[in-house]
């Protein structure tokens, strides 16, 4: 393992250790934060009980759908805007200002349109995540060296082949950045949405535990969400590193 990896582990382990000591010694009251070891046991207990299975299923299926929609939709729209520059010029100010909009303020409106349940959450998370993918797609396609497109012409590639064999792999590193952001934003969109108005899901359960001062349950759930998101992102990151190494990055 590299020196950097050791330093990283030492920082995380040190932080957890300090928190453990602070909580166990009473320096931090349990009404505020519980010891990390108790968080782990609370999380294990919650998962073992199976009570949360429907919530976990709902949250992660909503996140999964939002991830797929935002990646596919973001790439398609990004590709369309790249292909048709006047449309892109028209859209540029909207894209630049998009993340200044407080998306969650529209959640009540989405409920009016789509009703209660997971649909408004999926729409909210998709809208939140998709623009990151659009911007990454545009950045990737803009930076494809012109000589590679001329090479595609020399090999008489059809538009579909050019897209599949040249544009997609050439834009790959930027697309991966977009995918990572889309994954993160989809999680944020769904779980934060569940906090506000949903009657189910992991986000709702965290909010419910918070309202009832049930700290072990709340921290157990927060730890669970963190663990899943980190594991998912590390998988994407590892694959991205694997691809980047080939390119000498």
């Amino acid at each position: 393992m590299s020196k950097v990896a050791w330093i990283r582990i030492a920082i995380v382990a040190g932080g957890i250790g300090l928190l453990e000591v602070a909580c166990r010694s009473g320096l931090v009251p349990p009404t505020m934060v519980i010891a990390p070891s108790l968080m782990v046991s609370a999380m294990a207990g919650l998962l073992a009980s199976g009570d949360l299975a429907p919530d976990i299923a709902q949250t992660f299926s909503s996140v999964g759908i939002a991830i797929v929609l935002s990646i596919v939709g973001g790439f398609t729209i990004g590709f369309g805007l790249h292909w048709f520059p006047p449309l892109r010029r028209a859209f540029d100010p909207f894209l630049a200002a998009y993340y200044a909009i407080p998306h969650f303020a529209f959640y009540p409106l989405l409920i009016v349109i789509f009703g209660l349940g997971s649909l408004p959450l999926i729409v909210l998370a998709t809208l939140f995540a998709m623009v990151a993918m659009i911007v990454a797609t545009l950045a990737g396609l803009d930076r494809i060296p012109r000589v590679l497109l001329k090479t595609a012409q020399v090999h008489r590639l059809s538009p579909f082949e050019e897209m599949w064999r040249i544009r997609l792999p050439a834009a790959g590193p930027h697309l991966f950045s977009g995918i990572k952001l889309a994954v993160a934003y989809s999680f944020i969109g769904v779980i934060a949405g569940e906090f506000i108005l949903s009657t189910m899901g992991v986000g709702h359960e965290i909010a419910y535990a918070y309202d009832n001062f049930d700290n072990p349950r709340m921290y157990g759930l927060i730890l669970f969400v963190l663990a899943v998101v980190t594991a998912f992102n590390m998988l994407v990151y590892a694959y991205e590193r694997h691809l980047a190494k080939r390119r000498g990055a």
């Binding site: 060296p145 000589v147 090999h155 390119r247 000498g248 990055a249």
Partner: protein
């Protein structure tokens, strides 16, 4: 200045049939966003004979690369006609034409082997035949020990060899090279020039090389087309008269410098004109 293109081409003592032809070709980039139209090329005519090595030299911005793009079918001429093997070239690179560019055009996501096999695999050539041709091209370009490497692990010269090998496997009858060694150091250029001559002799392909290096054009070519400043036309076509079986040691010959000097004497005024055009454009 006279308009010598056609008559000079006809005077070339080549007894081979015409392989590719440009007839009164011009290329004008239309005006856009406050910029006037740019007349980049021509009218220009030329005939490439089967199996010859023809180089084009000219001042910066004279339309050399435009000439190659038009001949390759990568760009349409504004006027005039382009033919390859007797058939018109119309906005598409014809079968049998290979192009190598100055910029690194290797695919960074593919290994050397997969880069070289790229064109064969997508054209549905049988796996056995693909392997045979890739093995040959990889060996020919001295890439055997690097076949599983990615372009990022190779030097600039080796990446350019990958691009040449990728062209070579398709067995092109006409190879167009747009300053392929432009980014390489002088020693590597000389060695790559030798490899290019070996490739030309062994494949019997017709080669058109665009270069700004007069000694490189001199060393490699049977004939050298000297272009004027923009809009590029041929002001002369110089026959070198070098033996078919030649390599970089040709530069040691006493008469080598005389050809380079002649090229420079033809180009000097045009290069100064081109510098003036560049200054005005700024």
């Amino acid at each position: 200045m006279a308009e010598p293109a056609v008559s000079l081409v006809r005077s070339a003592p080549m007894d081979q049939p015409v392989h590719a032809r440009l007839a009164d070709v011009t290329r004008v980039y239309p005006a856009r966003a406050g910029q006037p139209a740019v007349h980049a090329l021509g009218p220009l005519s030329m005939e490439l004979r089967s199996g010859e090595f023809f180089s084009v030299v000219g001042p910066s911005g004279c339309g050399k690369s435009t000439l190659l793009d038009v001949l390759a079918g990568l760009a349409l001429p504004s006027e005039g006609a382009v033919e390859f093997e007797g058939k018109p070239v119309q906005g598409m690179v014809p079968d049998g034409v290979g192009v190598v560019f100055q910029e690194d055009a290797s695919f960074p996501w593919l290994t050397v082997e997969d880069n070289v096999a790229f064109g064969l695999r997508r054209s549905g050539v049988a796996a056995g035949e693909t392997r045979r041709r890739v093995d040959f091209a990889v060996d020919f370009m001295g890439l055997r020990d690097f076949r599983r490497a990615y372009p990022s692990q190779l030097s600039g010269g080796m990446r350019q060899r990958v691009c040449i090998a990728r062209t070579l496997v398709l067995q092109p009858r006409l190879i167009l090279l747009d300053e392929p060694f432009g980014a390489l150091d002088q020693q590597t250029r000389l060695l790559m020039g030798d490899e290019l001559l070996r490739l030309w002799r062994e494949t019997s392909a017709t080669v058109l090389l665009i270069t700004h290096a007069l000694d490189e054009a001199n060393l490699l070519s049977d004939r050298i087309g000297v272009m004027s400043a923009r809009p590029g036309r041929f002001i002369d076509i110089v026959e070198t008269g070098w033996p078919h079986d030649r390599d970089s040691r040709l530069a040691e010959r006493a008469d080598f410098g005389a050809v380079t000097s002649r090229l420079w004497s033809l180009l000097r005024t045009e290069s100064m004109r081109a510098m003036g055009q560049g200054a005005r454009a700024k």
